[in-house]
Structures are given as structure tokens and as C-alpha cells.
Amino acid sequence: MSVAGDNNVSLQSVRARAAALLVDRRSSQQWGAQEEAGLEAWLAQSPAHAVEFLRLEAAWDRTERLAALRPPGRKTLVAGDRLRPIFGRAVAGLAVIVLVGIGVRPFLKAPVVRTFATAVGGHKTVTLPDGSIIELNTNTSLRVANAKGERRVWLDKGEAFFEVVHNGAHPFVVTAGDHKVTDIGTKFAVRKEARSIRVTLVEGSARLDSLAGAQPRSAVLRPGDVAIADAQSLEVQRQAPDDVMSALGWRRGMLVFHHATLADAVKEFNRYNTEKLAIGDSYAANLTFNGALPTNDIGAFVRVTQKTFALHAAKRGNEIVISR
């Protein structure tokens, strides 16, 4: 039952193995289905393996939050002594952190990787050499590479819309966390959140591979499909064309709400604006409404809540708090 038993040595070796597997899974570009199966088998061998892996994985996931400390406008961060002041400042100003373009990093080896990024409220369109188009939404960062004839994009943060010129010999692959979208000639959007990704397919088809969780999962997406994948599940919903277009309203600078709660709406607005909104009570949080508003017009949204729901808005620190 217990692998560790009375000696610390076997616990140490189980932990070391768990750490090595975790680090490979999270940072190796060679990690594929075979490696995933190997991990799966190791985890299934003993609950001692499972608990050690889970614990390290949970700690690793918590450190993902550190990305919020990326200082604005700096190309590199020097590790070591200078960390403290940088962190102190970043933490103090957390509510108003603006992540800006991190620029193209110097790469010593081929393939050439280019980085594109937008700040909060930003919107940028990039045309790739093959004619494919990537539209970056607010607060987004992605890397593009041409490797061995494969066109690869890593969505590190945020959301992007892809209009891919199909080329059967050179698949177009978008990786977001542990999930991979491979185009089969298509227009689609990928949005990366802390623990999940959302893929909205507009035209053509694409395959979604999720390497997260206990078992790798795949789904082939058709127009109107919205897939949400996290570490535990992969769920595909079919949506009406109008709803799909609503979800992509940001491409026209609009947020489109359909039976959305104010809490959800605030969350959306906060993606696009450095001035943040908050909801003060659960009554206000659960009110629902329909409408389309410019992504950068917080004032218009606040006026809607005041006029339609008779709510109050008050400035508190860096936030506008909406409450009954």
C-alpha cells in the first residue's frame, strides 16, 4: 500500500521521478502522446506516485501566477539580486499591471521564433508569410515559428483569431498550455485562461488535442462548435451562428452580451481596460442583461447598470465598484 514505508530513500526517488516527469510535461517540446501514456502508466502503478505528482503539479500551477509579475516594458528580467525591487513594485501595482509587448527575443538557433503581443485594450493583426492572418485580442502574447515545414503558434496568453491558408503538407498548429489545435483549413479563435482554453470554430474544421489531465483527449470541431478544455475535461458545445459572432465581437471592438450576468460582463470588461470594474454585492452580480457595448467604454456599461438596474457606482482605489 505504501511505497515509502519506513525509509525516506524511496520517497525521495518517487518524488524525483514525479518532478522529472512534471517538468518534462510542462516544458519539453518533445512531450507527445507516447510520453503522456508513459506518465499515465507510472501514475497508475501506485497512489504513492499519484499523490507526489499531484502535489508538485499543483505547486507548479500556482507558480503560473508569477507571470503577472512580468514587468511592463522590459525585454528581459535579470534573475537574482534585482528580483526583489521589481517584484515589490509589481505586487504593489497589481491591480493596474499592464503587460505590454515583450518584443522579439534574440534566438541563437533556428527556427526563428517571432513574438507578437498586445497590451490591455490592444488589438493587432499580423499577416504571416504564407498569407495566414492572426488577430490578437487584448492582453495577448503569442509566438510564431516555422519549423520543419510545420507552422506553429504558441498562444502564451490571451485570445487570438486565426484565418489559416490551408496547406496539407504544412499543418498549422496552435498550442495553448497543454492543448493543441491543428487546422484542417479554417477560421477559428483560441482563448487561453488560467486553467482552460476555449476554441471557437467559425469555418472549416480543426482538431483539438488536449494533453492535460489523466488521459489525452481529442475532438474534431465543425463550424459553430465551441470547445472548452481544461485539465479534467474536454467539452464541445454547438452554438448558433449569432452566438459565435457575438463571442468574436471583439474583432469589431465590441463586447456582445446575451443573457450575461453583470459579474460575467465585468470580467470581460476587465480584460480590455486598465481601469477595473468590480461588483459590490451578489444581488448586482447576478442581474442579467443583453446588449452590445464598445470594449473600451466602461462609462457606457456603468450608465447601463445605473439606468437599467438603478445600481450605484463608486470609485474605490483603482476600481469602480458597482452595487445596489
Binding site: 500500500m1 505547486a59 501566477r65 534573475a79
Partner: protein, 184 residues
């Protein structure tokens, strides 16, 4: 882990991460109070986790805190029997030790900020090379190869830095009481 119930297994995993791991600091304190050999505490902790995880595979306990500490108590009793050492008269319970494992303030923004401070402090105490590798990976978002060339070491070394680093971070993030969180 039952191969026929992967859905169940992922539910257990999520429960374990959400409900059990946050108890680690309190659990370590409990084990130290009730076990004379401090060097065996990490091993005991691991066994508590294994037993808890196995039990949850059959049925997820309603009260994680009560279940985990009961498991720890039983484990200690089992070991005491097995090793034929003089039993400890009264096992101190969590309350008498003043171990607080209550959820911190419900303000999520405060929690997020405290969490970040906690991560920052943990990262700060990491060995410099581990820290550098972690910063380049998790803050800068560099690939392993990029980190290797930036640090002037091989990719395998970077992997080892990250692996040792995450073990140390997990000990700090779960094994230490979250004093920072309770600050108001």
C-alpha cells in the same frame, strides 16, 4: 488508482489538490507534535496522503480536514503498534495545538495578492540557479532550450534545476503556514 474509473480519478485528484494539500502545514505541525523522530515526518506525511488518496478513490470524504487528521492519527497508532514502542498517552488534537486551517478572508483580490506575495517569498528563498531557471520559465515564458542558452548550461541541467526547484517550492507553498495570507 482504478483504471476503470478515470473520471472518478480526476475528481479525486481535483479534490486532493483543493481540499487536502492546503492542510499540509497544519498536518506537518500535527505530526511533529505526535511523532518523536522529526526526520520521519516527511515520510509520515506522504503516507497520510497515500491513505487519504486511496480512501477518496472509493468515496470522497465530506469533511476533508477531519478525515485527513483522523487518517494521520490512525497511521501513527498503526506505527506505534508495529514498532512496539511505548504508546503516546494522549495524542494532542488540532485544537489544543492551536492549529488554524480555516479559510482565509473571502476577499478574492486580497487572496490573489497574498498568494502572489507568498509565491514571491518562496521564489526568493530558492537557490539562485533554481530561481533563475524558474523566473525564465514562469515569468519570462522561455522554452527550456532558450533558458539553457541564457544560463549557459545544458538543457538537462535546466530540467534538473526546474525539477529540484519545484520540489523546494512545493515544500514552501504547502508545508509552511500561510502567515502572509492571514495578514489583514
Amino acid at each position: 488508482m482504478d483504471s476503470g474509473s478515470s473520471k472518478n480519478a480526476s475528481g479525486v485528484s481535483a479534490w486532493f489538490v483543493r481540499e487536502v494539500l492546503p492542510l499540509e502545514a497544519a498536518l506537518i505541525q500535527f505530526l511533529h507534535h505526535n511523532w518523536r523522530n522529526a526526520s520521519e515526518v516527511p515520510d509520515l506525511l506522504h503516507d497520510v496522503y497515500v491513505r487519504t488518496y486511496e480512501a477518496a478513490g472509493k468515496e470522497i470524504p465530506d469533511n476533508a480536514k477531519a478525515f485527513v487528521f483522523a487518517t494521520a492519527r490512525h497511521l501513527i497508532i498503526d506505527r506505534v503498534r508495529r514498532e512496539r514502542i511505548v504508546p503516546i498517552e494522549i495524542m494532542s488534537d488540532m485544537e489544543s495545538l492551536g492549529i488554524a486551517v480555516d479559510e482565509p478572508d473571502a476577499d478574492r483580490r486580497l487572496i490573489a495578492r497574498a498568494e502572489l506575495r507568498r509565491l514571491e517569498s518562496a521564489l526568493d528563498r530558492l537557490r539562485p540557479r533554481f530561481r533563475e531557471a524558474f523566473v525564465l520559465r514562469q515569468i519570462e515564458g522561455l522554452s527550456r532550450r532558450e533558458i539553457a542558452s541564457r544560463m549557459g548550461v545544458g538543457e538537462e541541467t535546466v530540467k534538473q534545476y526546474l525539477a529540484d526547484g519545484i520540489c523546494a517550492l512545493a515544500d514552501m507553498l504547502y508545508g509552511e503556514a500561510a502567515d502572509l495570507r492571514r495578514q489583514k
